[in-house]
Symmetry: C2
Subunit: 294 residues, 2 copies
């Protein structure tokens, strides 16, 4: 399973714009609200999310229906732009199919905290659509949750792929290079631009592999692989501490957490892990397209 | 060429954070600024964008370097959320390789107009990073251009694909269904959710086909195709006026603008057009992966 996917609930989007239906769901004695520590997940001993009766909470987000049970998330005030590294230890311990539900809630909570005022007129905004939007109390403008598309990619050359070290990575960690998609460019153009900027690599034949939502705070990670005719690296030292080409044996050792691996791979819930695994499993110089699900 | 891609300039992102370099580029007598009518493009008789010497303009966006020539866009005040249908006639007349440059500028201009105030504290913001960001004059928060990922997709069943009519489409126009990717879901999950919501279609095996930036006002369109085991449609009448299954002959007639075509296809610069063409060209019940560029 790709990290932060597979929530497996019915988002019931059609109910969000109906305050009476949402109020009825919130009044349902079975309704649950996600327990959080700040904005981090709280796990039970089996690694599953903890929930509590919705009860008296008033500011909340409707997440959807799980086998008919209405699920909500709170809307706490949080410190912006801060991700304690400890949350990644929690994610290591978390059941894989639980991460998506918490991740979506985390993204929405940070978005609410960043949009208490209207960008257009500066007046205060208030939540509407069951927590899936905010409306300006001054000009009436409606604002909707932001999702930032990010490309994350491997350049491939002669049986090796390019991995890099961000400036603040844990020791020995290398990952796929990544960057935000900008206005006015396609996914494929963003992949080519980022590889050129950060590593001086010119690529062709960009292939999509997979995607995941990433809740720190709200990205859509779009994983690709592309062919590089050259292995010469020109590092952008403002973005990367290092970059290097690694072969299949080195990638396998990293993913298997072999003690003498040349580098430490990203954790399984990161799509860079999925991407390295997909490249490894493809076994061919050119990656096969994503396999049909069934 | 996919619409709104292929700008073919060097965005020179690394210069944006260097006000002195940007000032020197703006002072270059060769520097050009895009001519606009409101926010719409102004074309010369050959369908190419018109430019004028940067001269006295002060609030502007650095678009990048074209063969060494610094290109800028103005930052006019515009009416928000309005797209005159006439702009689509201009796009019909526009050289395909020019649309990307204007499209990126258009997205940035609307973003500036929507973010004159800080969402976090409500203070006024001012442009920085050569027009690729705004900084709050109150709390100092930095804000960056927004790009909204949107999935646009064909469900396929037994040699036919599903097309739908939005509530405000031109007469006889049908297109691929589409919707915003939400926090907490992957591209594949968004495709499945939107087809379920809008047409009651349950799909498997979602395949990525292509992407494009769409400047009304700032989406990243992500085109996919997916298998539907059933052709039963349950229409969401709040989203769609109609939906229907069309076969290859019907799609070909629509793309070729045959007078008696069953429906009118989206214009060539829309990725729905690219998607229908890719499905048609695939010739197989299952679409081949996007062809390598070279």
């Amino acid at each position: 399973m790709i990290g932060f996917t597979g929530a497996g609930i019915d988002r019931a989007d059609n109910l969000r714009h109906d305050p009476e239906r949402i109020a009825a769901l919130a009044a349902d004695p079975a309704a649950l609200i996600l327990r959080l520590a700040g904005v981090d997940p709280v796990l039970d001993p089996s690694g599953r999310l903890e929930w509590e009766p919705l009860g008296g909470h008033d500011q909340h987000i409707f997440l959807g229906l799980s086998d008919g049970t209405p699920l909500f998330a709170p809307m706490p005030r949080i410190e912006l732009g801060r991700t304690a590294w400890s949350v990644f230890a929690i994610l290591d311990a978390m059941a894989a199919d639980e991460a998506a539900l918490w991740g979506g809630a985390r993204s929405l909570i940070e978005w609410h905290n960043r949009h208490g005022y209207c960008g257009i007129c500066g007046s205060a905004t208030a939540p509407f659509r069951a927590g899936w939007g905010r409306r300006c109390e001054g000009c009436g403008a409606e604002h909707f949750p932001r999702v930032d598309p990010v490309v994350i990619m491997l350049a491939e050359h002669d049986g090796r792929v390019l991995v890099g070290r961000g400036l603040h990575y844990p020791p020995r960690r290398y990952s796929a290079l990544a960057g935000f998609v900008e206005p006015g460019e396609s996914i494929e153009e963003a992949v080519a631009r980022e590889l050129a900027e950060e590593a001086g690599i010119a690529v062709a034949n960009v292939r999509y592999v997979a995607s995941q939502p990433w809740p720190f705070p709200g990205s859509l990670m779009i994983a690709c692989i592309a062919d590089s005719p050259s292995d010469a690296i020109t590092l952008d030292a403002t973005e990367l501490a290092d970059a290097m080409w690694v072969d299949r044996a080195e990638v396998r050792a990293a993913l298997d957490r072999t003690p003498d691996a040349r580098f430490q791979a990203p954790p399984p819930y990161a799509i860079a892990h999925t991407l390295l695994r997909a490249w490894l499993d493809s076994g061919q110089p050119q990656l096969a397209p994503a396999a049909p699900a069934a």
